[in-house]
């Protein structure tokens, strides 16, 4: 495993209790600072893969090394700590807590962090500013648009200054204009702040923002292509 690698998978297998083989031997690496899109049709295993990468689920077999340590060597509390301190999540359905403000939603991961409480407000304000929602800080999340909700979710993913952000269909519930804003926000995080992004999408234009596209089918990698290769081949995936 090279020093630049954040994630390293070898022959990762996931079989659900009902016998469904969601992943059938995935081997790949994700480098720090990269922007990877995972594509594939429904049921191809892309969500399962990202859930395992984000320590929200466990593989049945195979090796997953995160930050130079085998996933099986982490305790439950250590996994919770990594999810909190080193990972950020953006979900298709936003997963914001209703009836509390944008500020409180963004601050949520800090409640579970070791970051000093005096820092919470500054960090939250910074994260909200990074997604351009400073004017919405005190708003109830149920009263803002879908695009804004997803930007709140991105701010929440950012607030703990994570190493990697996992985004599962972040534009899936958005109109194309909001989707574009969200994607530009994510791209900025990668290009300007050097954050590692791992994003699931089934939309070609979304994948077009990424530097690398991995395509899954029936739980296996069928294509793994970088933007340079894509341009060389005259791939139709462009933003």
């Amino acid at each position: 495993m090279s020093k630049k690698e954040l994630i390293h998978l070898e022959n990762l297998v996931k079989t659900f209790p009902d016998g469904t083989h969601a992943l059938r031997g995935i081997s790949l690496s994700i480098e720090k600072g990269s922007f990877t899109a995972i594509m594939g049709p429904s049921g191809s295993g892309k969500s399962t893969l990202v859930n395992i990468l984000g320590f929200l689920d466990k593989q049945t077999n195979g090796t997953y090394i995160f930050d130079n340590k085998n996933s099986f060597d982490y305790t439950e509390d250590e996994l919770a700590h990594i999810r909190n301190a080193k990972m950020g999540f953006v979900f298709q359905s936003f997963n914001l807590l209703a009836k509390i403000s944008v500020f409180d939603n963004v601050m949520l991961p800090l409640l579970y962090s070791k970051i000093n409480k005096n820092e919470w407000k500054r960090r939250t304000d910074l994260a909200i500013r990074a997604v351009g929602l400073s004017h919405r800080t005190k708003h109830d999340v149920t009263k803002i648009s879908g695009g804004e909700k997803q930007r709140v979710a991105i701010a929440r993913a950012l607030v703990n200054n994570p190493e990697i952000i996992f985004a599962d269909e972040p534009t899936g519930n958005l109109d194309s204009k909001s989707g574009q804003i969200v994607m530009e926000t994510i791209q900025n995080l990668n290009e300007k702040q050097g954050r590692t992004i791992c994003l699931i999408t089934h939309e070609a234009y979304v994948a077009g923002y990424a530097g690398r596209t991995i395509t899954l089918k029936d739980g296996q990698v069928v294509k793994d292509i970088t933007v340079h290769e894509r341009h060389k081949k005259g791939d139709r995936y462009t933003k």
């Binding site: 689920d57 340590k69 919770a80 700590h81 409640l111």
Partner: protein, 427 residues
């Protein structure tokens, strides 16, 4: 770069204050449901408060009344000690205490510590004056002893004398209310009232004294016991004999001496066949306290059942809450909450819910107890003092919060053990 054990140790679990905030928000979101959930706890804790408060007040009241009798006094009653309310009626018809018993008890060699002795006869019926009738508590007694025993003062006139007792004189000392009911503001001394159709001359009126030792002095009329026996009732026995001894320290010894004297006189060898019984103030207090305490314990156990039922209600709603908030739990776990954080959050929510119920219960229970004492005072003229049951309030808080812990732990554990991805996917 990897996460070290030390980092994990440094990362303290979410602070309790944050859990409290989250729990409060959770409860506020469903105000009506939260209120209805704690209703069972409110009722149970309020019941504990009322029972313990009224129990404590009653005990204080009864003990206070008994103290009016004085610790250096004991009472001899005819018949067997009553075990239940029906036995009490038998007392009025027991004829085992007679003048010869009084004479024997008075003898120094029998009860050396005896200072004074007063037989008492209960006279049923009412008193009347020129057609006005008043239902007074009428007794045949020794007015002087009566005044001394109950620390009473004469407002007008005097007590009747030993001579009047010896000569079966038709004289009476009446209470303040009896005087006012029959004579209003006009003078009563020297006038004759009728008791059992016999004219009795009023020689004295007691000062307004209220309730003393279960007796409202203001409503009493005292005639010489000899007159009561001979002219009013035609009996030769007493309903009660009050004995005063030199001091409270010797009261038990004196009671034992009196017991021996009477057994000897009545030819009783087996104590279980006694035709009289003795009650000391201390014994009565113990007896009454014992009865009230066991009643409180019994009622408390009934309330404990109510608390369990209330607790099950809390558990039920907490389980519903966990199910409803499965996605929230999943999200919190995805964002770094440990199992302990989630457990803490839901447990605090349950404790807050039941603790809040307990606090409301204490306020309501305290209010009702206070109102009870006020009502009893104004309506029944019973001076039942309001006693704040600090123990009950403390118990109420502890018990209700414990109910939260006991009945909240299962739903909280269920929430904490949820797999993050299963919880996030929950529809």
């Amino acid at each position: 770069m990897s996460v070290t054990r030390r980092e994990i140790d440094i990362q303290n679990s979410m602070k309790v204050s944050e859990s409290l905030k989250i729990a409060t928000t959770g409860l506020k979101t469903n105000k009506t449901r939260s209120m209805l959930t704690v209703l069972g706890i409110v009722i149970a804790v309020a019941s504990i408060m009322i029972m313990m408060s009224v129990g404590k007040s009653s005990e204080a009241f009864i003990v206070g009344e008994l103290s009016g009798l004085g610790s250096e006094t004991f009472i001899i009653r005819p018949g067997q000690e009553p075990a239940g309310p029906t036995d009490i009626t038998d007392l009025l018809f027991s004829d085992s205490l007679k003048t010869k018993d009084i004479e024997a008890l008075k003898r120094k060699e029998n009860v050396p510590d005896l200072v004074e002795i007063m037989p008492l006869v209960v006279i049923p019926g009412s008193v009347s004056y020129e057609g006005d009738t008043y239902r007074a508590d009428t007794f045949g007694a020794d007015a002087l002893f009566f005044s001394k025993a109950f620390k009473l003062k004469i407002e007008e006139g005097r007590e009747f004398t030993q001579n009047e007792i010896s000569s079966n004189a038709s004289v009476v000392v009446i209470g303040d209310k009896v005087k006012k009911e029959l004579f209003g503001e006009s003078d009563a001394i020297g006038k004759h009232i009728k008791i059992k159709d016999r004219k009795m001359k009023i020689v004295g009126v007691y000062e307004k004294s209220g309730q003393v030792a279960f007796l409202n002095i203001d409503e009493t009329a005292i005639v010489p016991y000899t007159t009561a026996q001979t002219y009013l009732l035609g009996i030769n026995y007493f309903n009660e004999v009050v004995v005063k001894v030199t001091s409270g320290d010797v009261v038990n010894q004196a009671a034992r001496d009196a017991e021996a004297t009477l057994r000897d006189l009545h030819n009783i060898t087996d104590p279980s066949k006694d035709d009289f019984y003795i009650q000391t103030q201390e014994g009565l207090v113990d007896q009454v306290s014992g009865i009230i305490n066991s009643l409180t314990v019994f009622l408390s156990s009934v309330v404990a059942i109510a608390l369990v039922v209330g607790g099950v209600g809390v558990m039920n709603i907490m389980l519903v809450s966990v199910t409803e908030r499965t996605r929230e739990i999943g999200l919190r776990k995805a964002l770094g909450a440990t199992n302990k954080d989630i457990l803490q959050q839901f447990l605090i929510e349950a404790i807050l819910l039941t603790g809040f119920g307990g606090a409301i219960g204490i306020i309501i229970g305290g209010g009702i107890s206070y109102a009870t004492s006020v009502i009893l005072k104004t309506v029944l003229e019973l001076d039942l003092p309001f006693a704040v049951p600090y123990l009950a309030a403390f118990l109420g808080v502890v018990v209700s919060a414990s109910t939260g812990v006991i009945f909240g732990i299962y739903p909280a554990r269920k929430a904490a053990r949820l797999n993050p991805i299963d919880a996030l996917r929950y529809e």
